[in-house]
Structures are given as structure tokens and as C-alpha cells.
Amino acid sequence: MEQIISPIALYVVCALGGLGVAMALPRRDTKLQITGGVVFAAAAGLAALALGLKASGSGGLPNYFFYPFAALGLGASVRMITHPRPVYSALYFILTIIASCGMYLLLSAEFMAFALVIIYAGAILITYLFVIMLATQAPSSTQEELIDETDAVSREPVLAAAIAFILLGILTTAMFRGVGEVHPAGNDRTALNGVLANLPKKVDLKLKRAGLLEADERVLRLDDGTAALDASAGTIVIENVDLGTTRMIDHEQWGDHLEATNLDRLGFNLMHDHPMTIEIAGIILLMAMLGATVLARKHTEFEEQLKASHARTLGLDNSTGDRS
């Protein structure tokens, strides 16, 4: 662990962070909130400093965009859990998500970054906002600024913060200790080419766009339908569909034009490696939709009965009227 952060600094950071969060949580006297925020910011800064010092020593500082994103994300998170008004909490959560998206981008997970923004910020959080508005009594004109007692007071903030930041200490201890012994995978071109070999049409398209293929040529398909793409040698076999002849191009020629993007890899991984999980996720979503519909349904039997009785009364009136 020592190669990443000094344990003392880590535990000081955890303690400070816990203290800050505990102070920042809403209570009856709100004076401590700003102090708490400052303490938490100090803890975050200390963490950044401790991590950065070690990282710079070993030459592994992250991209400098990381720091604003991290600061934004953590700050918005803390504000989200400390803000007494649910609407603001939801909005701060959107901020947190956007900050996470930035970090996703830094981690070259651009698809997930945009998906997060669209799904979380665009769909889920908007649903939250709707529900918050549905489930909150409209403030009367006289008491516009009244904050609900439920929201104004937090429950056992010190205990919760203590537990949570001890957990943080444990988690980081475990993670950092583990990282030092896990070796990252190398630059696995073979794996990338493996993805490409499974996408012969994409290879066709890319090579055509690069002008490497003639009109009547395409990548040779092997018996199992994969492209004849030798991953280790970096050669691609091209066949002429009309003539039936084949030729070979090597990595020098196609290297810049042909690569498996993140999205390719993600899609391929998703569909190829985890098909069952997709099914399960689909069922979970379906069930959730069904459950939400059932749960939120209003029981309107009485109203229907009322309407039916009204209708009968009306019909009775009509018939009597006709008779008279």
C-alpha cells in the first residue's frame, strides 16, 4: 500500500472526511454546514495531495482533468446528501453524474459516459424530479420557505459518518493493497484483432473506405464466418469474389485505418460474452416496469361504482321523464 498512499495520510483523510460529512449533514442548527464542507474539502485536498505526491514520485499522475472532475463529483455528492430540499439534491446528483461522465471520458469509456448522461441525467433523474414534485405538498404562499422536518434533520449523522468512513478506509486499504499486486494487461493487439476478425463486414467497409479494396474484392471469410485476419502476423487475406483469387495485405498497410473502437469492443463483449446477463437485465427491467405500474396504480373501484350509480340514477330520471 505504501507505494500508493501512506496509510497515516489515508486514515487522516478518512477521519477528516467523516468529520466533515458529519458536520455538513443537516441539523437543527445549520451553522456547522459550511465548516463541515470546508473540512471535507480539506480532506479531499489532503487525499489528492497524498495520492499525487506518491504518484508523481512513481511517475503516474492522472490526467489533470481528473482533479476538477473528482472535486466536482465529490463536492456535488456531499451537497446532495446534505441539502435539505429533495429537488436540489436531485439536481446536485445530476452534477455528480456529469462529473462521473467526465471521469468516464478520461477512462476512454466514451460510450458509457454519454449513455450515463442520457439514461441517468436524462431519464432516471427526471423521473425522480417528477416524483419529488408529485410527492411534495405544494408550498402555500405564506410559508414558501418552510422545509419539511423530515428533510431538515438527519438521523444519527455521527454514527453513520463514522461507520461509512471506516468503511472507506477499509475499502481503500483493500483496493490499494490489491492494486500493487495486480498487473495490468499488456497492449493486447491480438485481442483487438480478435474482435476485428469477428466483424468481417466492418473490415470490408473500412478497407474499402481506405481504398485498399477493389469493388469486387472482400476479405476472405473462413469456414466459421470470421475474417481471414491473422492477429499475430497482422496479415489480412483478400479474395476477389468474381475471379476467386486471393491476395494478402499486411499490417503496415491497414494499421491506421482499421481498429476496434471502444464501442466495438463493448458491443462485442456485451453480445458475445454476456448474452445471458442481457436477458436477465431485460427481465429485471420488464418486471420493474410491471411492478411500478401495479404499485402506483390508483384504486378507483369506488369511483367507478359512484359513476355507475350516477348513470343508473340518470337513466332512471330519463325513463321517468319519458313516461311523464
Binding site: R155, E156, A160, I163, I166, L167, I170, L171, A174
Partner: protein, 770 residues
């Protein structure tokens, strides 16, 4: 362990492959081993039709059960039972006639065959037939047939399920009794023993809606259980000591023969204590079943059952099972130093005690019950005095006349709507249609009273009493038995004089004949102060029908005819019964009787008697039998005269000056008052039941209460404590279940944190060590 393994192997091979056991010649034919018989000799195989005797009643039981199931509402069960029993009796007769003098066994099927080590316990479902068996089976099946015939009329009020139930149990009883008497091993005897106990329970509790009947049934069953324990232990000890349960093997057992030889010269110290204990344990069983002191208390209460049951089971057959057991196992009893003297004394005490109680009772059926107990006491005294012949003879005659008496009483009870109080009945014999009952009752009473020369009861009783006087050291028993005979004559004729003669008078009982579960003899009023003399107008006693009269007549004839048995073979065996007993294991040649005869003939010479026995003597200078005939004859007549004086009707036939002016009052009332509380005590059975209650039941109840509280406080307390601990724990942690979601979340997070801290510490330690 080394010894156990081959035992287990043998046992397992027996269980898994019976053919192995069968192929073993010794196991297949256990009697083949009995070639060196001393007393019994070669035991052959008898004809298979002997099996009809036990299995026909069993068939009756099954058929009656089927009748009950299909809801038969006719007298079919009775006729089925009577028919089957009659065939069984005929079979027994043919068994008797075809018996050639040597015992045999009849094998029905293999029952229990257990082999272990070099021993094997074989108890087949086989029947052992010798003269003792035949004697017993003759009167068991004969009386059962007659009583079933009687019951066909007597029980006719219950036609339907109850009728089937009665005859079903009746059949099962005869089957069980056959197993008891005919079984060729002690386990068969035990099976029958328990079977008759069960049937007795079922039949005493026949009126199961009546609490007193249920209580009586339970009492009989439980008291018998005490005896049965003794019997079971005795059988166990027999097997342990002699290694066999089969009579044929047991009575040819060299060990046992050696003991008998030792015992006959009085050398009891040479016999191991274990062998002597067998007889004492078996004796307890006999006391229970045959209602001897102190286990007699169930028998009088057993009168709650229908009268035919009382006659068959509790007078004629089942209660003689104890006598049979001792007679059958006589060699075993002979080798025990104390068993037979105990039997003699207990029998005598029972005889006297029951007779005194019987004198003071008012319920005629109960009087008969006590007389049964008393007569059983005679039989046991006879057994104890080494005269199995006398005991068996008394069993036989008693079976006839006591069945007769009970059935006559039952007829009265049946005719007078359950009335059994002798203060409320009078002159029954003079009533229309009751003549046969009156005459036969008189014959029965004469037999019970032992009137000289004209009754068979006299001869059998005399044989026992005479034996008491010729056996040295037992003359006290003899005198007690004579006193008992006088008392017996008195209370027997007390019943007769009060109920059957005198002015005609009858108060019906409270029994309704149109009721299904009518209770016989309910509410017997023993309080002399409450007797009323009002007639319930409109009550007409219904006289007994032909079945009852025929049965009574046959029994009366048999009681008289049994006199002849005393003269058959008299010279050689002291009567026919003697000849029967002589050929069986029950026979023991009593040297004293011979010597007494010799002494009377003046040819007495010094005989070196066994150690501890004095030389026999003549009684009053004459032969003991002659003396006893005089004494008991005079005693019996004296008892009858006393009864006539106190209870006979006034001016009756000008013969006696009777003391009874009306049904309820008699001279005895005035006399009884002079004795102070004694008659009352006798009427209350000397408070034996109360004493039992005080010294046995009450302490047990207290003990069980103590146990109950112990259970409640200690055991339950312990259990409750174990139940309370989790509750305490829950009480401590319950506040954490606040119902607020966050509370649970905090707990969960805290738990996870603690867990992770532990894991991390362990991992770091391990990492640090590595």
C-alpha cells in the same frame, strides 16, 4: 465380543433364512432331545384334530367380529358360539377317550425360535396333552358350551352389536384358555394367561357406559398385572435356569429331576436359590389370576360383568388358571422350600377372610364372588398341602356348582330387573316358573355348603381338609378350613333361605329391559336402614326360559354326578381325578397319606420322614379321611341349621323355627347388633380396599403429585429457562428493531464494517507474516 459374534451369526441366519434353522435337526424337532425323560417319558406327536379345540373358539371370535361388522341383529352369534364350543367339547371328549396314557404334543406352527450360541429358545405354537390338560379342557369347554347356551338367552336384551361383542370376547376367552391349558411351553401359557386377562377385562367392562363396570375392569386388569409380572419373571427365570420353556423338556430336565430327588428327602440346601425363586415368582402370578390374598380384590368387583361372564370366567375357568399353573409346574414348586407352605397358608387365609366377608354381604352375586375366592383358597391350600388331586377335584366340582350358583343368581337378577339384594327378594322358588331355578339353586348351595355324602363339593373339600390333618405341622390349617366350611355353609344357606323360600316378595331392580346398555345390579343398596317393603305394582318377574333351565338342570345333574368321580378308582388313586392327576406332572406321591392310612390300620411303623416333617398321626384315633368326613359333614349341617335358625322363614314347613318374619328382617339383625362394629366391618370387606387405598394408592398418588410438581418445577423450569434465554436476548436486542429503515441500514453497514475490519486485519497479518 468373541462369544457374541457366533451368537449373532446364528441369530441372523435364523432370521434371514428360516430353512437353516429348520434344517438343523435339533431345532426342527426339539422333542427329539427329550429322549432321556424321567418323569414324562417319550413325548409323541398327537393327532392334528386336537387343534380344533383351541381354533374353533377362535373361529367363533372371528365370525362374531364379522357379525358385528355387518350389523347382525339376531341370535346367530350365540348359536355360532354354542355350536363351535360344542364341537370343541366333543373334540375334547374324543381326545379324552382316545388318550392312551402317554402325553403328546400337537404342532400348529412355528412361533418363536431363537438360537444363540449353544442355546436356543423354542416356543412353538404347539399343544401339550396329558391327563391334567384333558381334565381341565373337559370342564373348560363343557362349561363354556353350557354357559354360552345360557348367555344366548341371558344376553338377549343386547341383541345387536353388544351381543356380537359379548360372544366375540367369549370365543376369544375360550381360545385363550385353551392356549393357557394346552400350550406346550410356558410362553404359550403366558399368551393364554394374558389373553384370558384381556378377555376378562373386556367382559367385565362389557357395560362400558357404566362407570363402576369400567372401574372394575381396570381394577381387574391392573391387579392381574401385578401377578403377571411375577409370572413373566418366573418364566424368564425358568428359561435362564433350565434353558427351556417347553414342558416336555422341562419335566425331563435332569437338573430338575435332581432337585426333586433332593427335595423329597428334604435336602433343600442342595437346590440353588435361583431354582427356588422360580416357584415363588410363578406363585405370585397364580395369586393374581386366582384371586388369592392379597390380590383377590379384583374378583368381587368383577361381578360388574354380565352374569355368564361371572360364571364362566370368574368362577369356573379363568380363576382356576392359577391352580392349573401350580399343578402344571408342580415339580418346580416341589423344589422350592417355601413356595408350597406359602401357597397353603395364603390359601387358608384367603379362604377364611373371604368367608367372613361373604357372611356379611347382601348382594347375592357378591356373596357368590366371595365364596369363589374362599373356595379358591381351599384349592390353594390343597396344592400347598401336596394334594394336587384334592385341589384338582375341588376345581372340578367347584366349576360345576359355582357355575350353577352364578347362573341361578343370574336368572334371579335377570328376572327381577337387576335386583340382587337378598333383603328385597323372598320366596322366589315358589313363584311360577321359578321351580327349576329353586331346585338347582338348592343343589348348588348344598354342594357349596358341603353336605355330606350327597354332594360332590363335600368329597373334594374333605380331601383337602384331610390332607391338612395328615400333613405334620398343618393341623392349624385344617382347623381353619373346617371353620371356613361351617361359615360357608352358613352364608350359602343364608342366601337360599332368604331369597328362595319364605313369603313371596320381590322388589324389582332399577333396570329397564328395553334399554340396550342396561346395567346389571346397579345401585346395590347395602344400607340396612333403607330397605323398603313396598311392592312396585305392575312388576312381573319374567321366569327364565328353556335355555337357562336346561343349563341349570345339566349343571345340577353334573354337580351331583361328580360324586361318582370320588369312587371311581378310589382304591388306587383316591378317585377319578386322582387317576387323571396321577399320570401327569402334577402328581406327587404324598407319603403322609399312606402313613396315615397305615396308622389308622394299626400297622404304623417308623418311617424316616424327610427332615423337618414330623411323623404323621391319626386324627381322633381314626383314619384322617373318615374323621374329616365326620367333622366336615357335621360342620356343614351345623352351618345350614344356623342359617335356618337366623334366616329361615318362620314356621317353615314345621321343620325349623325360622327367625325371618318378612323379606328384610330376620333374627340375625338382633344378633349382629351385639357384635358391635364387627358385622359392619365384614360387610365393608374388612376395609381391605380402603387399606389398599391408604397404603398403596394414596402414597402412590402423593408420590405422583410430588413427581408432577417436580416435573412442573424442575423439568418444565429447565425447559422454560432454555426458552427464556432467547427471549431475554431478544429483549436486549429488540430496541434495535425500530422499524425505521435507516436503523437497519446502520446495523447492516456496521456489521459489514466489523466483518471487513476482521478480514482486513487477518489479511494484513497474513501478508505481514509472508
Amino acid at each position: 465380543m468373541i462369544q457374541l459374534t457366533p451368537q449373532l451369526t446364528t441369530l441372523l441366519s435364523t432370521l434371514t433364512n428360516p430353512m437353516v434353522a429348520l434344517s438343523d435337526p435339533a431345532a426342527a424337532d426339539p422333542h427329539a432331545a427329550a429322549t432321556t425323560a424321567h418323569a414324562v417319558g417319550e413325548v409323541g406327536h398327537g393327532p392334528a384334530w386336537v387343534l380344533l379345540i383351541p381354533f374353533l373358539p377362535l373361529l367363533g371370535f372371528v365370525l362374531n367380529a364379522i357379525y358385528a361388522a355387518i350389523g347382525n341383529k339376531s341370535k346367530l352369534p350365540a348359536w355360532t358360539t354354542v355350536g363351535l364350543l360344542a364341537v370343541a367339547f366333543a373334540t375334547t371328549l374324543s381326545m379324552f377317550l382316545s388318550y392312551d396314557g402317554s402325553p403328546y404334543t400337537v404342532h400348529a406352527f412355528d412361533w418363536i425360535q431363537v438360537h444363540f450360541g449353544d442355546k436356543s429358545m423354542i416356543a412353538d405354537f404347539s399343544f401339550y396333552v396329558d391327563k391334567l390338560t384333558i381334565l381341565w379342557m373337559l370342564f373348560v369347554t363343557g362349561l363354556a358350551t353350557l354357559i354360552a347356551l345360557y348367555a344366548s338367552e341371558y344376553m338377549s336384551n343386547d341383541i345387536g352389536t353388544g351381543y356380537c361383542r359379548f360372544f366375540s370376547a367369549f370365543g376369544l376367552f375360550v381360545f385363550s384358555m385353551s392356549c393357557l391349558v394346552m400350550g406346550d411351553n410356558l410362553l404359550m401359557l403366558y399368551l393364554g394367561w394374558e389373553g384370558v386377562g384381556l378377555c376378562s377385562y373386556l367382559l367385565i367392562g362389557y357395560f362400558y357406559k357404566k362407570p363402576s363396570a369400567v372401574a372394575a375392569a381396570k381394577k381387574a386388569f391392573i391387579v392381574n398385572r401385578i401377578g403377571d409380572l411375577g409370572l413373566a419373571l418366573g418364566i424368564y427365570l425358568t428359561f435362564v435356569h433350565f434353558g427351556t420353556l417347553e414342558f416336555a423338556e422341562l419335566f425331563s430336565n435332569e437338573k430338575l429331576m435332581g432337585y426333586v430327588a433332593d427335595a423329597s428327602v428334604g435336602n433343600f440346601s442342595a437346590i440353588p436359590g435361583q431354582a427356588q425363586w422360580i416357584a415363588l415368582l410363578l406363585m405370585i402370578g397364580a395369586f393374581g389370576k386366582s384371586a388369592q390374598f392379597p390380590l383377590y380384590v379384583w374378583l368381587p368387583d368383577a361381578m360388574e360383568g354380565p352374569t355368564p361372564v361371572s360364571a364362566l370366567i370368574h368362577a369356573a375357568t379363568m380363576v382356576t388358571a392359577g391352580v392349573y399353573l401350580i399343578a402344571r409346574m408342580y415339580p418346580v414348586f416341589l423344589v422350592s422350600e417355601f413356595a408350597l407352605p406359602t401357597v397353603a397358608w395364603i390359601g387358608t387365609i384367603t379362604a377364611v377372610l373371604a368367608a367372613t366377608i361373604g357372611m356379611a354381604q347382601f348382594d347375592i352375586k357378591r356373596i357368590m364372588a366371595y365364596s369363589t375366592v374362599s373356595q379358591l383358597g381351599y384349592m390353594f391350600a390343597g396344592l400347598g398341602l401336596l394334594t394336587t388331586t384334592g385341589a384338582a377335584f375341588h376345581v372340578l366340582t367347584h366349576a360345576f356348582f359355582k357355575a350353577l350358583l352364578f347362573l341361578a343368581c343370574g336368572a334371579v337378577m335377570h328376572g327381577f330387573a337387576g335386583q340382587l339384594d337378598l333383603r328385597k327378594l323372598s320366596g322366589v322358588a315358589w313363584m311360577k316358573g321359578w321351580g327349576i331355578v329353586g331346585v338347582t339353586m338348592l343343589i348348588g348351595c348344598m354342594n357349596l355348603a358341603g353336605l355330606p355324602y350327597i354332594t360332590s363339593g363335600f368329597y373334594s373339600k374333605d380331601m383337602i381338609i384331610a390332607e391338612a390333618f395328615v400333613t405334620p405341622g398343618y393341623s392349624i390349617i385344617g382347623w381353619l378350613l373346617i371353620v371356613t366350611a361351617i361359615l360357608t355353609a352358613y352364608y350359602t344357606f343364608r342366601v337360599y333361605f332368604r331369597v328362595f323360600v319364605g313369603p313371596q316378595h320381590a322388589e324389582p331392580g332399577n333396570e329397564h329391559h328395553d334399554h340396550d346398555d342396561h346395567a346389571h345390579g346397579e345401585e346395590h343398596n347395602h344400607d340396612a336402614g333403607q330397605h323398603g317393603d313396598h311392592h312396585s305394582s305392575g312388576f312381573h318377574p319374567h321366569a327364565p326360559g328353556w335355555a337357562v333351565n336346561v343349563v341349570l338342570a345339566v349343571l345340577a345333574f353334573a354337580s351331583i354326578a361328580a360324586i361318582s368321580l370320588a369312587y371311581i378308582d378310589k382304591a388306587e388313586h383316591h378317585g377319578w381325578v386322582g387317576s387323571m392327576v396321577h399320570d401327569s406332572t402334577a402328581y406327587f406321591h404324598s407319603p403322609y397319606v399312606e402313613q396315615a392310612h397305615h396308622a389308622a390300620e394299626g400297622t404304623a411303623h417308623a418311617v424316616d420322614g424327610p427332615v423337618g416333617f414330623k411323623a404323621p398321626k391319626a386324627v381322633f384315633g381314626m383314619d384322617a379321611h373318615t374323621a374329616m368326613i365326620l367333622i366336615t359333614g357335621i360342620g356343614g349341617i351345623f352351618g345350614v341349621l344356623v342359617a335356618a335358625f337366623f334366616h329361615g322363614p318362620k314356621g317353615w314347613q314345621g321343620l325349623f323355627i325360622g327367625g325371618r318374619t318378612e323379606a328384610a328382617k330376620c333374627r340375625m339383625d338382633a344378633v349382629a347388633r351385639r357384635f358391635g362394629p364387627i358385622p359392619k366391618m365384614a360387610e365393608n370387606k374388612w376395609y381391605v380396599d380402603e387399606i389398599y387405598h391408604a397404603i398403596l394408592v394414596a402414597p402412590l398418588r402423593v408420590f405422583s403429585h410430588v413427581l408432577h410438581w417436580l416435573d412442573k418445577l424442575l423439568v418444565d423450569g429447565l425447559v422454560n429457562l432454555f426458552g427464556f434465554l432467547p427471549r431475554l436476548f431478544a429483549w436486549v436486542i429488540r430496541p434495535s428493531q425500530s422499524g425505521v429503515l435507516q436503523g437497519y441500514a446502520v446495523n447492516m453497514a456496521g456489521g459489514v464494517v466489523i466483518l471487513l475490519v476482521v478480514v482486513i486485519v487477518v489479511v494484513l497479518r497474513a501478508g505481514g507474516a509472508a
